[in-house]
Subunit: 438 residues, 2 copies
Amino acid sequence: MKKKISFGVIGFGTVGSGVVKLYLDNLDEIKKKLPFDLRLKTIAEKTKTSKEGIKTPRSIKITDDAYELINDPEIDIVVELVGGKTFAKDFIISAVKKGKHIVTANKALLAEAGDEIFGLCEKNGVEIGYEASVAGVIPIIRSIKESLAGDRVENIYGIINGTCNYILTKMTEEGKDFDEALKEAQKKGYAEADPTLDIEGIDAGHKIAILTSLSFGKKVDFKDIYIEGITKVTNIDIKFASQFGYVIKLLGISKKQGDRIEVRLHPTLIPKTHPLASVRMEYNAVFVKGYASGSILLYGKGAGMMPTASAVLGDVISIARNIANETVATVPIRGYISKFIDKGDILNVTDIVSKYFIRLMVVDKPGILAKISGILGKKNISIASVIQEGRNDEGGAVPLVIITHETQEKKLRDALKEIEKLNITFDKPAFLRIEESL
Amino acid sequence: MKKKISFGVIGFGTVGSGVVKLYLDNLDEIKKKLPFDLRLKTIAEKTKTSKEGIKTPRSIKITDDAYELINDPEIDIVVELVGGKTFAKDFIISAVKKGKHIVTANKALLAEAGDEIFGLCEKNGVEIGYEASVAGVIPIIRSIKESLAGDRVENIYGIINGTCNYILTKMTEEGKDFDEALKEAQKKGYAEADPTLDIEGIDAGHKIAILTSLSFGKKVDFKDIYIEGITKVTNIDIKFASQFGYVIKLLGISKKQGDRIEVRLHPTLIPKTHPLASVRMEYNAVFVKGYASGSILLYGKGAGMMPTASAVLGDVISIARNIANETVATVPIRGYISKFIDKGDILNVTDIVSKYFIRLMVVDKPGILAKISGILGKKNISIASVIQEGRNDEGGAVPLVIITHETQEKKLRDALKEIEKLNITFDKPAFLRIEESL
């Protein structure tokens, strides 16, 4: 058994600072769990200081050159916490080629270049831990790869972006509009100054890509995933959804449909009574339906200094335990053996079948509903319920909201195009998807 | 790498049938996850038939002698699913001595003889998987041992008995009384013909014992745990709890208090807004607060043929993956290294500090509340709120419900004894504990 295992951390920002702090604060407890020394040897950071003001003892070396750490033969595990797809990728590739094991929270890189990186790790016989890349502290990666190894995932649904969940919670519970809620999220540190990656759904899209690949043992091309952020969700949508018994959540959805995979990320109406509906504020949750397991929900903080650090250090310890036992990757990096992982056949979003919530701002005059329902009928789309706001202002705009039964999205889109041509709607007809059977 | 790993199942009852069914149904998928053959070689069952009518192929041997399986040199992993503390213990001990790895769902045995069994496994260099022993399919054992290995658990709260949660849900949502709700649970298969172990809290007590030991790296003597079932919870309690903003759940509670441990299992008032409050019916959930992780909730089915089978087979595969890689127990069986696991110093329940819900049936006449609050005041117990039902019937019985601020349980019990002596209450004064800061 190897008696001393060393790791280094690249990136002394929020998460890096958290990892160092947790390691230092908790070392006495960690020692009781490991029959070997786990040493944090080096931290690499351009500015040489922790973003969060973490003080480090002299025994930990701080360098501004990541390669000093990557090339250090004493270091067994490299923790990459710089993020992004350029430097981070170079660091990981160099470290893997040097035989280092990797721990990373870099969802963007894994979603877009996972194949290349995971393949390189396998080729070089090293492990890569990426629990922190999806839903922060929630142990979803390990649960799918290990706890559910004898089972099979059928569907997976995730609230996997804390920024968006915070904004939608504020809009729903306090009636704030999108811009107000976003500003508040930024003030509280839940949203970046440039919130695009979060509010446009890119970040959550990366995570559902990783979860899909892992759940079904398929390669998933990130570009094949339908992604729609929350910027177009209005307070009117939230209010009407509530009247129909739904809340709106930014949901990553992934379902096995025979040999094909349905995977998408968009604002979704879910029943108020579903456990995911009560996931509020910056919290994340992943809901898994397994063939044998039935419904499982895992809930916790999806981001933040210390929760993410907890996930990162958990991965470091798992890998260190394997190194100490002179074994490696007893569990395949992606849960499935690589040779069985083929490209997933991903359904185009226009081919999915769903219930829909249609919101129209229509001219306030009689006969409008008849025209609209006529077009829907012609396309074989049946209406489950309708709310038409009371008229105030003949010729003005009133919201008309329709819930459909299940239909193919292509048909719905065609119908909405025809409705738009009627010139009785003010805005472009808007729609949201409803997920009821989750 | 070992190319063929065999396991055997002792016990072809509900869970055993589930394991066999899942293995057979899912073998194609399992093969894609393992670089070796995982073979179910033998099933041992007195009656030689599956309780659930599962058909087995000829390649699986069925015997009525568990020792045929235990003594078979080809079998690497023995899955013990007979339950109970007699035969099961003999089977496990014999198998461990033969160098077999163990998977079990036997919470009673592990809670009461865990030390002996875990110690024997370590001595014989074998693993024991027991994910299914606590909260069925919920991956709580693995999450504490592995995902949170770099962190430390501070508090843990669990709804870990599906029978009780079903009964309390029916009482709360449908106003059923205890006996009606129990009968319904029995009819639905959620309660045994003799429901004692469930409704008296023994089963859930076993589970909180295991979780406590694992979370804090301490030996826990099951007899030191304060256990109170749900048989004394009344519809009046539930109604008043609701008026104060609480729901009543049978909750396992475990907290690190400096060097001491507070661990108890009893009906508990928790705020309606807490994620645990929305865990309904036969579902289980475990809520963990870690130093770095913050709040994590894991939710799923705590029992049942297929969910439990999913957890069992997950453990079989974890162990098989280690065997194939010629390593063993890379993760210590109890999360902590054995030599650091000492006996936990468990607080007596009378020494705990809590808020309390007191329910009295008092004589319906003026001046009663003054007398009662006088006694509470003398014991330094402050009252947070009171509901006294409107009077109908001078001299008859009316409920008086008091919520206290935090106080030591010893003081509360003393005060209630004095109140009883006043001869103004009809029943013995009853109280429940409130958990608010979870």
